[in-house]
């Protein structure tokens, strides 16, 4: 995905720029779209994603909110109920816990409890993920809480193209979407890509992507772990095994077909998530596969996840508890050699 030809004319863009472009294009396209978040206006966002957005679209559409996550979500829900398309930023996705009730009980259920009368077109997005020394409260991947809360779609892109295309689709989706941005990828030059714009840039929700073809084992994941799986796939190549890597991109709704399709070839699966193991999404994938594709499995379906611990601060501790290319390689070798 990062191998677009680099020529003088063409300039590749990073994941962060992709997200910024999605904001500008959708704000331009939809005059009813507003953005709510802490420090997104005057400052332009902690990570500059909304840099210049308030200057262009004004204080009313790009709102510097008080440090009130519950109000950010609740106000967004009310604005959406009354005709707006709302993008809420959590300065770090970790702080979403402070707006939790408004998300899972107010926003997520609105369409259901009103029997379809009221849709809430809202995206709650923010920087997520570990591997940067962010410690317990600036490293979380808490997507499983929301995957388990009916009425929410959950999305997590691993490339600039997907970041832009999925965010644009999430903004246009009539349902609330929790959108996980991998902050370690924001400025990663290795994954820069040329980006399309307008409708051409759209990437549909609910479709997984085979990012690497292989025949011996299927590595299924999303977010930062996609790159760890690509590295593991390279390692496996050395060992003489060819790994297929699937980036599910959307957790809810999940594109199981693409995974099962792959299993028809490989008959082996390793699912990876950065979040804690218990009730994490890798486990959900194993549960679905082992129930729905049992006969396709020639080896135990395995998962590689964070240990069931918070994310500790300093590097030796952090790496000890988190998934890594090495850990994924090891797990894959076990199922390959099974």
């Amino acid at each position: 995905m990062a191998n677009a030809p680099k020529t003088a004319e063409r300039t590749t863009k990073n994941y962060l720029t992709a997200l910024r472009e999605a904001h500008f294009e959708e704000m331009e396209r939809n005059p009813d779209m507003i953005c709510l978040g802490e420090d997104i206006g005057i400052l332009g966002g902690a990570f500059t994603i909304t840099d210049g957005l308030q200057a262009k679209y004004g204080k009313d559409r790009v709102v510097d909110m008080p440090i009130s996550e519950a109000a950010i979500v609740g106000v967004g829900c009310g604005a959406a109920l009354n005709g707006k398309t709302v993008v809420c930023e959590m300065q770090f996705i970790d702080f979403i816990s402070c707006g939790f009730d408004q998300i899972v009980n107010m926003t997520a259920t609105y369409h259901y409890r009103t029997a379809g009368e009221v849709a809430i077109p809202m995206v709650i997005r923010g920087p997520a993920g570990a591997y940067g020394g962010g410690a317990l409260y600036h490293s979380q991947m808490n997507e499983a809480w929301f995957a388990h809360s009916p009425g929410l779609k959950v999305v997590c892109p691993s490339s600039p193209t997907d970041a832009k295309g999925l965010l644009k689709s999430a903004i246009r989706d009539p349902n609330p979407v929790i959108f996980y941005e991998i902050k370690q990828l924001y400025r990663d030059r290795k994954i820069e890509e040329d980006l399309l714009s307008g409708d051409d840039a759209l990437v549909p929700l609910g479709k997984a992507k085979v990012v690497r073809e292989g025949a011996d084992v299927t590595l299924v994941t999303y977010g930062q772990s996609v790159w760890h799986c690509m590295e593991a796939a390279a390692n496996l190549e050395q060992e003489g095994y060819s790994a297929e890597v699937i980036d599910i991109r959307t957790l809810v709704p999940l594109d199981s077909e693409t995974i099962i399709e792959s299993l028809r070839k490989t008959n082996r699966i390793v699912a990876v998530n950065e979040a804690p193991m218990t009730c994490g999404f890798a486990g959900e994938i194993l549960a679905r596969i082992s129930q729905d594709a049992f006969e396709l499995l020639d080896a135990p379906p395995m998962r590689v996840t964070r240990m069931d611990t918070p994310v500790p601060w300093v590097e030796p501790l952090e790496l000890f508890v988190l998934p890594s290319p090495a850990k994924i390689t090891e797990a894959a070798l076990r199922v390959c050699k099974f």
Binding site: A71, G74, N82, K84, Q102, H111, E117, A119
Partner: protein
């Protein structure tokens, strides 16, 4: 001598017809409450009832001056608000910006003709087209949503205000603070009505609110904190209209505390225990100022109601169980009866509906 503290202002502009309408709405709110208790006792209705008996003046008085396009978000003790909204436009007027008694009764009975198709219970209904916000159970949870609704309305050039209803106990929730703080910063037309009935389920106000008046919460945001006699429908009307004009003119949010008393248990399941945790004297005192009696006295003094007519119906000063249909004007009994009969005839939703509408775009 009338117990009404009101001496002018907004209610002076009310016509005699308005006053009679208000009286009938008070009767209707009370009859709704009494009738449901009786239906339940008859076994024709299940589920918990959260009575607004003795608190009717707050609902009627706060709604009476609203524009049809203003928004409200009632909670468990405000079910009559769903059909009283924009009732002035004619109780049976299908186009008015409020629910019909049929819809509300269908909800109470858990039938498919409920605006929410009986997917969530009791007061958790609403209607976007009628400008009524759908609440969850989580107390104070609709205040930020209400702020968002009027924020969007203002962006679109609208002048709607929103009334959110909350008990005094609910003001201890964090989201109450976050929402009102935001509304105050942006001078949004959010009016927080506090129905201070002295008790939050089994907990007295002293353990929920550190100040004598709940309205003092407003001082923390530099917004008006008005106090109304919740037993006096015109005082509620005046104070709410002050807040409404303040809000509509762009001056921002306010809190209107309406002092009242919870006549019965928290819900009907709590009636017996409430009789233990609250002294007879306290309850007697708390129910001594019946809003219907107070208002009728005033109307008689004003010469709007004849002493004779005032006596015709006597829903006031009695307990819900002593009251009979004769204590209410026929228009009230008939209207409610339509709702009840409709609800009982209405069907349950099909089981399959349980799996529907998780997402827009699904079946």
């Amino acid at each position: 001598m009338s117990q009404s503290s009101v001496t002018g202002a907004y209610h002076d502009k009310l016509t005699p017809e308005d006053h009679i309408e208000i009286l009938n709405q008070l009767y209707l709110a009370r009859y709704f409450d009494v009738r449901l208790s009786k239906e339940k006792r008859k076994g024709r209705l299940t589920g918990t009832l959260y009575s607004s008996f003795n608190q009717e003046a707050i609902i009627v008085g706060s709604l009476f001056g609203l524009k049809p396009t203003d928004w409200i978000s009632p909670i468990h003790r405000d079910v009559p608000a769903f059909f009283l909204k924009d009732c002035r436009a004619g109780w049976r007027n299908e186009d008015r910006m409020g629910m019909s008694i049929k819809q509300v009764c269908a909800q109470v009975w858990g039938k498919v003709d409920s605006p929410g198709r009986a997917r969530d219970n009791w007061s958790h209904i609403g209607s976007k087209s009628k400008c009524i916000i759908h609440s969850t159970s989580m107390l104070a949870g609709t205040i930020p949503v209400a702020a968002g609704v009027v924020y969007a309305d203002r962006l679109d050039g609208g002048d709607a205000v929103v009334l959110t209803y909350n008990g005094e106990g609910s003001t201890a929730q964090g989201v109450f603070h976050e929402a009102i703080n935001f509304a105050a910063v942006h001078k949004l037309p959010v009016i927080t009505i506090i129905e201070n009935n002295q008790w939050a389920f089994g907990t007295p106000i002293e353990l929920e609110v550190p100040t004598k008046d709940v309205a003092d919460r407003a001082k923390g945001y530099g917004i008006p904190g008005l106090i109304a006699d919740g037993q006096d429908v015109l005082d509620v009307y005046d104070k709410v209209m002050q807040a409404v004009d303040w809000a509509r003119s762009g001056k921002g949010p306010s809190i209107v505390e309406c002092k009242t008393y919870r006549a019965y248990g928290h819900g009907d399941h709590d009636d017996d225990r409430a009789a233990k945790y609250r002294s007879k004297e306290e309850v007697k005192q708390g129910r001594s100022r019946d809003p219907i009696r107070i208002y009728k006295q005033l109307l008689v003094e004003k010469g709007i109601l004849s002493a004779k007519d005032a006596k015709k119906h006597a829903a006031e000063g009695k307990g819900a169980m002593e009251i009979t249909d004769q204590d209410f004007p026929p228009v009230v009994v008939d209207y409610m009866t339509e709702g009840v009969e409709f609800a009982i005839k209405s069907n349950l939703p099909e089981p399959e509906e349980g799996g529907k509408w998780v997402f827009r775009g699904d079946a």
